[in-house]
């Protein structure tokens, strides 16, 4: 019997293809084949639009049917505040002037509807990369050679900077001690986040981002309120970072790093940490979500071996009883301390 498993990419060198998509339809600026820098804007769209509805027929005492003849601008045209939008000629001539800088969006039942873009969203490349495809009105597909780590949670922001490992081990808690303004362009790496104060200190110091293995549940709203991106690679709690991820980030000290968040409207696209390595061409990873096999490196997603990494030594073809009494399909996993433990398949995450 085959067992499909969820997976996480932790790859030191690969060819990465990352979609950069707008939340709504918008303008795609970048072109196929274009080499882009981290700050380069790839696409732009309105994020928030405001409206102004004006009962112009009532104000000018004209019928809705008549309004169409009196429009001085076409529906869909840009207007500036003060532009004449409706002009009533002849005896008792009157004009209606645009109240906003925006677009005459529509005319509905004798009312003018103006729209204004209140907030734009701009998609930046975040990493030096190449545009390999354009997705009409939505964004682009970037190609980058480098290291790729899939995270499990992000605070809703993204960014880039220079890697600086702030903790000695994969389970070292984040403290305020090492944070100062010299780290302002850095993305810090730490084992776990267990206190609020260092997060605030980091904000005051102007860091560019923070990557941790875990964060305690009570700090999630505080993390979301910070003005810099926070990425969690393991999960919620005090377990810290998986060793392979910590080692990869340690080896990337002082390199450029990009933090790509998981867009709320694109289910399935996980937050990703990418470290471009331009000199070396990467290879494609094997496809994700393949059936588990013996020899596969896995991470355990629940207690009692939460966050430990090991290798599958055997896949059991019949159900076994767990400590909780549940009867489940599972695998024997050899942990780094040589201990072999039985873990339910659903609690395994293949590392590819």
């Amino acid at each position: 019997m085959q067992f499909l498993s969820h997976s996480t990419i932790v790859s030191p060198l690969t060819r990465i293809r990352r979609e950069r998509l707008l939340p709504n339809d918008g303008d795609v600026i970048a072109k196929i084949g274009q080499e882009v820098s981290p700050v380069q804007v790839l696409a732009r769209s309105p994020l928030k639009v405001t409206f102004e509805v004006v009962p112009v027929c009532q104000q000018l005492r004209i019928s809705p049917e008549k309004l169409a003849e009196l429009l001085a601008v076409q529906v869909g045209s840009m207007v500036e505040a003060g532009d004449v939008v409706v002009k009533k000629r002849g005896f008792g001539s009157k004009a209606y002037l645009s109240p906003v800088n925006g677009v005459l969006h529509s005319v509905v039942n004798g009312r003018l509807v103006f729209s204004q873009v209140a907030e734009f969203v701009e998609l930046r490349a975040l990493a030096r990369s190449r545009v390999v495809n354009r997705i009409a009105n939505r964004g682009v597909l970037l190609e980058i050679n480098g290291s790729r780590i899939q995270a499990v949670w992000d605070s809703g922001k993204e960014g880039f900077g220079t890697v600086h490992v702030a903790g000695e081990t994969a389970v070292t808690p984040f403290t305020a001690d090492p944070i100062n303004t010299e780290l302002s362009d850095n993305v810090l790496v730490t084992g776990k986040i267990t206190e609020a104060e260092p997060l605030e200190q980091a904000q005051r110091s102007g860091i560019s981002g923070l990557i941790a293995g875990s964060i305690t549940a009570d700090l999630l709203p505080i993390a979301q309120a910070m003005n810099y991106p926070i990425f969690i690679t393991g999960g919620i709690g005090e377990q810290g970072m998986s060793e392979p991820i910590f080692q990869l980030l340690q080896k990337s000290e002082a390199r450029h790093i990009a933090l790509f968040s998981s867009p709320p409207n694109l289910a399935g696209q996980r937050p990703e940490i990418i470290i471009p390595l331009e000199a070396v061409p990467g290879e494609d990873l094997p496809p994700a979500g393949q059936p588990l096999t013996a020899g596969q490196t896995v991470r355990i997603l629940q207690k009692p071996y939460y966050n430990q990494v090991g290798i599958v030594t055997q896949l059991h073809q019949s159900k076994r009883i767990m400590e909780t009494g549940s009867s489940v399909y599972g695998a024997d996993v050899k942990l780094t301390d040589e201990q072999t433990v039985f873990v339910p398949i659903v609690n395994l995450d293949a590392i590819i």
């Binding site: 499909l4 969820h6 639009v49 405001t50 919620i236 399935g268 629940q302």
Partner: protein, 581 residues
């Protein structure tokens, strides 16, 4: 679950049914065995609609292949397609049906006139499908029209549901609201045009049709509130469910293969569950309730003969990704009260947030299992409270229950079904004499779909071992003093065995009765207690034993949980002990 009726022979036919949930896809094979339809095999695989797979067909094929491996019966051809109909060689199956809850809910904006009238009815109609209310527009809105339009445009709803005005009643206010919707919907017409459902004053239908014009998808349903005293939800609820099928289920990646295989139209799981619950209510001639504690939603439905069935789907709660939402609807202390004091708030909080990140996982330790159960209790309590309020207002349902159907792996795959039963009793608060059946194979809703097309096969499958009979439960209503006699039970089974049990108020008793064993049970409540036949009135019933025998719950509702942690823990441990640990 005691029916001894025999059903006429149907032409032999094999069928495969699938339940594509948010986390798991379950497949079951039914075929004729010993003159009747029986569950031959069942298998489950991860639902593969989301990344990294993004092909729902993949997980389904995996589960089907597991059945093929287990039974030695070839079900898929070399291309991976289902072999249908069954060949003379025994390969393939004759029919296939599937239900779905894997798709995300319909993001819905609700527009209506009055919160306690049209909006209340509209919410009841919407709660019968997988919807998520993202905004509400009313004349009492503190936002102005410009802000309401901006909200429609910026939130990009899948549907806008308009209710309001009794038939031939209010017009102007409703038309103003429709104009606001019109402007918002037109602004979205070039990007993501929403579907507008109008279920208000029927006198305005044509006016609204011409107002909204051709660029907006308009669907018209019966007015959900034709008069202040009457409500008709069926048509509107069906229309919303249809939109879920068209806009969400049909958008699942890889769905076309499944559509091509299906012998029956695809259905949302919740509607199919309501359908089979209704069938049971007719067969049992009594009130039947079904609860489905799923990964991404919770469904509660109940049906009784000669009355319209009720359905409540909560997409904001569940045991997977939405589990964390319970922390917004209840205090952490409300969850902690169901836990022994050895578990800290931080431990419970971290577990719940982690479960939301990894919805497919199961608790790995006893303490995590307890936390999952405590969260499940609070989720069920919340769902039952809201559904009760929506269905019955301030007059809670008192009709005794006849059958309780239970779904969702947290409930059906629990290593200790007695704990599951305790949770159900504590949260659903059913009363009367009823049996409890667990849908351990995840086949119930799909059998509901099948019942429409192959009723005999579905009934025979249900009479077989498709459901796990947990046993009978008696819950009297009434209040007393701890230690006071609440009920006498006399059980007589076939082999001249006689057992007499006195049940005290405030306790739970288990009367042993082996699975499948029949017995005659005389139930005599004390003067102030009622088991559904009037205070102090007894009843003799013939029952067949289930996994837990017969459970008498005389604790009285609502449960009085002591505020003191130690006292509460002692009491809960006592109840756990009473019900079998």
């Amino acid at each position: 679950m005691t029916s001894d009726e025999t059903t006429p022979q149907a032409p032999p036919q094999s069928f495969l049914i699938a339940d594509c949930g948010a986390s798991n896809t379950t497949v079951a094979l039914f075929d004729e065995a010993a003159g009747s339809y029986r569950l031959i095999a069942q298998a489950a695989a991860p639902t593969t609609a989301a990344a990294p797979w993004e092909d729902i067909h993949l997980g389904l094929r995996q589960a089907i292949q597991q059945i093929a491996d287990a039974t030695g019966r070839t079900l898929l051809n070399k291309r991976g397609d289902l072999i249908r109909p069954a060949r003379a060689s025994g390969r393939g199956v004759d029919a296939f049906a599937a239900v779905f809850s894997a798709a995300p809910p319909l993001n819905t904006i609700l527009a209506g006139l009055f919160d306690k009238v049209s909006l209340a009815s509209a919410r009841r109609a919407l709660s019968a499908a997988y919807t998520h209310e993202i905004d509400t527009l009313t004349p009492a809105d503190t936002r102005n029209e410009n802000e309401q339009i901006a909200s429609i445009v910026n939130s990009q709803p899948d549907i806008i549901f308009i209710a309001g005005g009794t038939d031939n009643g209010a017009e102007r206010q409703l038309l103003d609201l429709v104009e606001t919707v019109q402007i918002g919907a037109l602004a979205l017409s070039t990007t993501k045009p929403p579907h507008v459902i109008f279920a208000g004053n029927k006198a305005l239908r044509e006016q609204i049709r011409s107002l909204l014009g051709e660029n907006i998808h308009l669907h018209v349903a019966d007015n959900v509130r034709p008069s202040l005293q009457t409500e008709q939800l069926h048509d509107a609820a069906n229309l919303v469910s249809e939109q879920y099928q068209n806009l969400k289920i049909k958008s699942l990646p890889g769905i076309q293969n499944i559509i091509d295989w299906s012998s029956a139209p695809m259905q949302p799981t919740a509607q199919a569950l309501a359908q089979i619950t209704d069938c049971f209510a007719q067969i049992q001639n009594g009130r039947v309730m079904a609860v489905d504690l799923g990964s991404r939603s919770v469904t509660l439905t109940e049906a009784a003969p000669n009355s319209e069935s009720r359905l409540c789907v909560r997409t904001d709660l569940g045991m997977g990704q939405p589990i964390a939402n319970i922390l917004e609807q209840a205090a952490l202390a409300d969850i902690m009260r169901w836990l022994p004091s050895s578990i800290t708030e931080a431990e419970a909080h971290n577990f719940i947030r982690n479960k939301a990140l990894f919805p497919q996982t199961i608790p790995g330790t006893k303490s995590e299992h307890r936390i999952a159960y405590a969260a499940a209790r609070e989720i069920l309590r919340n769902v039952v409270e809201q559904a009760g309020q929506r269905w019955y207002g301030n007059h809670p349902q008192t009709q005794p229950l006849r059958l309780l159907l239970v779904r969702g792996s947290t409930l059906t795959k629990s290593p200790r079904p007695n704990q599951t039963l305790l949770m159900l009793l504590d949260t659903l608060r059913p009363t009367g004499i009823f049996s409890v059946a667990l849908d351990v194979y995840g086949v119930l809703p799909a059998l509901g779909v099948l019942a429409e097309h192959e009723p005999l096969a579905a009934v025979q499958a249900l009479e077989g071992q498709a459901l796990h009979n947990l046993g009978w439960v008696v819950v009297p209503t009434g209040k007393g003093q701890p230690g006071q006699l609440a009920m006498k039970v006399t059980l007589e089974s076939g082999q001249a065995q006689r057992l007499e049990v006195e049940v005290e108020y405030g306790t739970i008793e288990i009367v042993p009765l082996a699975p499948g064993q029949s017995a005659q049970v005389a139930l005599q409540p004390a003067r102030r207690f009622d088991i559904g036949y009037g205070a102090g009135r007894g009843k003799t019933v013939t029952i067949r034993g289930g996994a837990l025998g017969m459970v008498i719950d005389a604790r009285g509702y609502p449960l009085d949980l002591p505020a003191d942690d130690a006292a509460r823990e002692t009491l809960m441990n006592q109840w756990l002990w009473d019900i079998g640990g």
